[in-house]
Symmetry: C2
Subunit: 272 residues, 2 copies
């Protein structure tokens, strides 16, 4: 990265320095810090970058699962990304992030060359006011990563920020990088995790939580992402079940014109 080229904070946060094929050195970023350690969405994107920038990478990501095995500590880390199997049109990946010689994150992914086929969408983009007509969140007591997104909540703000008592955990929010950055697979993966924890929409009590596993399916191709450019995406998310210390969160990410960009699901640990 040369000093006279502008680099977006997201690209700095997810940047990797290749040490040998498939082995990279990276560093957490204060810009995307969470309450403790880095924001998990940006860490997911950093593992995805290790795949996308691998010299043997075939096609673009279609499926991506990240397992948060232990808290990432602020500082440097090593990522190892290896293709486990390369087929004619699909490729499978296993990735590990290590700190102090211990595995902290694991991930698997499928990349593929996509082709024109019969296609059909069964979901509808939720009907919401245009992004320009919704106020941006303006919060002071939030972790740094929140301030690197322009988030406009249509429905389902965390109870700490609203007087409402919701019967469900549904959130609809417009979001984009702050400052503006054209959408790509990396930022899309991170936005799949850029919702406030579902349990904080349902409960007033703020209990410790942590995502244990996150899965993203990319429904968009490079062309659709380029067309979307740096506009807000619409995120729709909900928990289906909170049960004995774990809850799920499912979601969809849409462009304003009704293209489904990604679907996502995660399992989250909560303390009490």
């Amino acid at each position: 990265m040369s000093l006279n080229t502008y680099a977006h904070p997201f690209d700095i946060a997810t940047s990797l320095k290749q040490q040998e094929t498939g082995v990279y050195h990276g560093h957490t970023s204060d810009d995307y810090a969470n309450m403790v350690g880095p924001f998990g969405g940006v860490i997911a994107s950093t593992l995805l970058r290790a795949i996308i920038e691998h010299p043997d990478c075939l096609g673009s990501p279609v499926s991506f699962t990240v397992n948060y095995a232990a808290p990432v500590k602020d500082g440097s880390f090593i990522i190892k990304a290896n293709p486990t199997r390369t087929n004619r049109s699909t490729q499978h990946w296993y990735v590990e992030l290590c700190q102090h010689h211990e595995i902290v994150i694991t991930a698997t992914a499928v990349t593929a060359k996509k082709r024109d086929t019969w296609s059909s969408i069964e979901l509808y983009k939720p009907e919401v006011p245009d992004a320009e007509r919704v106020d941006s969140l303006s919060l002071t007591e939030v972790p740094p990563w929140v301030n690197h997104y322009d988030i406009k909540i249509v429905k389902g703000a965390p109870r700490a920020y609203t007087k409402s008592n919701y019967a469900d955990s549904v959130t609809l929010q417009w979001m984009k990088d702050k400052p503006n950055r054209p959408l790509d697979y990396l930022s899309l993966a991170s936005m799949c995790d850029a919702f406030f924890p579902r349990i904080y929409v349902r409960r007033e009590k703020v209990v410790p939580i942590g995502t244990v596993s996150l899965t993203v399916y990319f429904h968009s191709d490079t062309e659709a992402l380029e067309k979307h450019n740096n506009h807000h995406v619409l995120g729709h998310t909900r928990a289906q079940n909170f049960n004995n210390g774990f809850y799920d969160q499912t979601g969809e990410i849409w462009s304003a014109d009704g293209s489904l960009l990604a679907t996502t699901t995660q399992l989250v640990y909560y303390k009490e």
Copy 2:
């Protein structure tokens, strides 16, 4: 397995012989053969068994992702299951299935000790007639695995078996092992994949398909599974988007009394 003990075909199909800690030898089963190679659901269960039977396994599975990197060939295979990280109440796993020294399947999982906490369900079990009031599928030209389930389709049979032309890919079906077998994590994982491919509900044309990645979140604990015993589970599934060679499939598995046992999602490749 002694000769004078009855073993269910599912337990035979998923049985593993430990060679050393975390390294197992297994074999595909004709009972659960698919059109080509073995049924993916039973293969997923076999990888999960490698975790559950590992001497170091902590707690029970909460999250499980299987990546089908290449077709499993009929015959024997080696599974290697290793804990990548063990915490106080959660443990992370990486598993590989190999044939002829090549990786054919990879999987990651999280196991955990569950605890009583605040709990809340936001989904409702779909309203359907009781299992006893729905006819069992009785098909002759189907792969062997189908005949090892008692499947009762309430809505959304594949178009090859019905005259209907559906506007969506939703299927509701009761299912259980045939012959009867008490439900456990292994059979529940397999049932998450025991729906006919969504694309065959939508399209009359039978195109080649294959799951590339399957994720299961277990919402049930051992006690709930034991209570369920060998009754039918209700499966609800749909595709959200068919796009350029890949579609997703999401689903929920319920007990008749309204307990959510598992949620699942998969990404499926299709040819044209």
